[in-house]
């Protein structure tokens, strides 16, 4: 059983119907807890959108509502502009992959993949069903495991079968509920790439829920960051990272240093350097700049005001913890090739690249 086997291209797999999805002001409370507090989001046909956020932010509730597994207190769900808010889950034609694999234990891998098609037996002949089942198993690289039962498969293999099963019904929308979180790191990265490759090949509109930002940024066309049941920001991964719209997004996605400075006219002065601020930042007065470690410029200088407290080698890059003259401590990340003279105890000058940064008010 080769966990790392690649995915074959199978041109015969029918393209999924790429539907548009709109969640309009959807809300759901569980007792006093508001899981969704008026979430609105639009997803284009064929797009892969990742919903990212901390535990309890409502991302899974939103996905379950879209699947029809969760009733809503308020709001509307449209797929291709058709209202499906009150449509039963079994009639929504949405393939879902769960965190816990959820393969039917009494069925073989092939029977699991074919299950959705057998329910549409009047529309699918048994030959077509078997052919499609085999093609999908090939698509996920497990055609040799057709007769295996779930307990004979590894976690990664089970999740691939679950993906094939979800795709078998040619879903309008593919829903992935933290599908990689039960897998080990290596398999997770491989399967993430495979999911993206298959999604691009099949072209199905996909919603991917995760709490892992690396996963979300690595797989999605757009990433929606959620907090307290609402969407804080939805944008392409690079934009989300470089131009966060709120302090929460800036702090939740990636690492940030918090450096005190003064803002005036859309510019903040920190450590003697003037840096433009992002939209949504405070407009004047004292503020806390949220600075990405890789936007710091570290220049070796024996008379520099900063002093490297610790240096960690991370492979392609090196992470430096630097003590500043004002007794604050910041983290910088520089390419390993530039870090030869940047050992612990070295004096350095700290500067900034010209990237605009987000500034939040001093609490």
């Amino acid at each position: 059983m080769n966990e790392t086997s690649g995915v074959k291209f199978v041109s015969a797999i029918s393209k999924g119907s790429s539907a548009s999805v709109k969640l309009i002001d959807i809300a759901k409370s569980f007792g006093q807890v508001k899981a969704l507090a008026g979430l609105t989001i639009e997803i284009g046909p064929g797009e892969l959108v990742a919903l990212l956020g901390p535990s309890g932010c409502g991302k899974t509730t939103a996905l379950r509502a879209l699947a029809g597994l969760q009733d809503l207190d308020r709001g509307q769900i449209l797929v291709d502009d058709k209202d499906i808010t009150y449509l039963a889950a079994s009639r929504r034609n949405m393939g879902m992959v769960f965190q816990s694999y959820s393969l039917f234990p009494h069925m073989s891998a092939l029977a699991n993949v074919e299950y959705g098609l057998t329910l549409k037996a009047h529309k699918t002949s048994s030959d077509l069903r078997a052919a499609k089942g085999k093609e999908l198993l090939e698509l996920v690289g497990l055609s040799s495991h057709a007769r295996h039962f779930p307990h004979q498969l590894s976690g990664g293999q089970q999740q691939r079968i679950a993906l094939a099963r979800a795709l078998a019904i040619s879903p309008q929308v593919l829903l992935l509920d933290e599908p990689l979180s039960a897998l080990d790191a290596k398999v997770r990265t491989q399967l993430r790439d495979e999911i993206r490759r298959i999604q691009l090949e099949v072209g199905t509109t996909t919603v991917f829920v995760t709490h892992d930002q690396e996963e979300a940024l690595g797989i999605a066309d757009r990433v929606g960051v959620m907090r307290n049941g609402i969407l804080e920001q939805i944008a392409a991964p690079a934009e989300l990272y470089d131009r966060p719209a709120t302090a929460f997004v800036a702090e939740f996605v990636g690492l940030t240093n918090q450096i005190l400075g003064n803002v005036s006219n859309g510019v903040i002065e920190i450590l003697g350097v003037k840096v433009p601020t992002l939209a949504g930042s405070i407009s004047s007065g004292a503020g806390i700049a949220l600075v990405r470690p890789e936007t710091l410029k570290i220049i070796p200088n024996p008379t520099g005001s900063g002093r490297i407290f610790a240096a960690s080698f991370l492979g392609a890059s090196c992470r430096l913890t630097i003590d500043l003259p004002n007794h604050s401590r910041i983290v910088a990340q520089v390419p390993s090739s530039d870090a030869a003279q940047l050992g612990a105890g070295a004096n350095v000058d700290v500067s900034f690249r010209s990237n605009p940064i987000f500034v939040k008010p001093v609490e």
Binding site: L69, S90, M96, F104, H106, A111, L119, A166
Partner: protein, 256 residues
Amino acid sequence: MKIWRRTILILVAFYLLLPIAAMADFSTKSLSGRRGFDSWRAIFQQPDLISAIMVSLELAAIVIALVFFLVVPTVVWVHLKLPRLRRVIEVICLLPLAIPGIVLVVGVSSIYRWISIHISESPLTLAAVYSMLVLPYTYRSLSASLNSVDVHTLAEAARTLGASTYKMLFGIVMPTIRSGVMSGAVISIALVLGEFTLSSLLNFQTMQVEINLVGQSDGGVAVAISLAALLFVFLLLVAIPTTINRKSQELETELA
């Protein structure tokens, strides 16, 4: 270690088989000490006994049907849809264990009096109280099965793939908890075929009541019947799960 295991196995087998061997010995020995199968032949000359055995078998079949079509779907539905009621259902199902047989008889005797006057005097009406008696055992085995797998997610997966409630229940959930259903069924059969207190106190002629009656006049025949019943139940317990297994596989194929 191997010797220890074998010794323990032999001791346990001896402990379990000794009474059966004693029964076989007693039922094949006449008062004069002569060996023979007179007591065994006498079984077939007891018409009341044969009809009592049939009644017990019919009762077991009815109870199994009630368990399959009432208890199992209810427990599964509560597990999937009404988790808040789980504790209440559990307490209700376990009540027969806590209530002594005699108290149960006092409680149901007035109902059975009414039933015998207005509905039927058939001993098959005992199925109602028997299905109550088997509840603790069927509930526990079902509950253990339901808790051992994430049935909730399996049900949701089936629904997203287009399964109706019926297909989700009988095509996915039931096969997943088949072992629990099977143990529940086997325990129910054993309990119904071995039950004496209720049927005796409510004056119904079931197998155990009849064995007791025969035993009062001929000990050898009573022991022969008991041994035959024991072997018969043993065979039944092997045959029924196999049949149920095959039938449910046919149903799965049909639903798939």
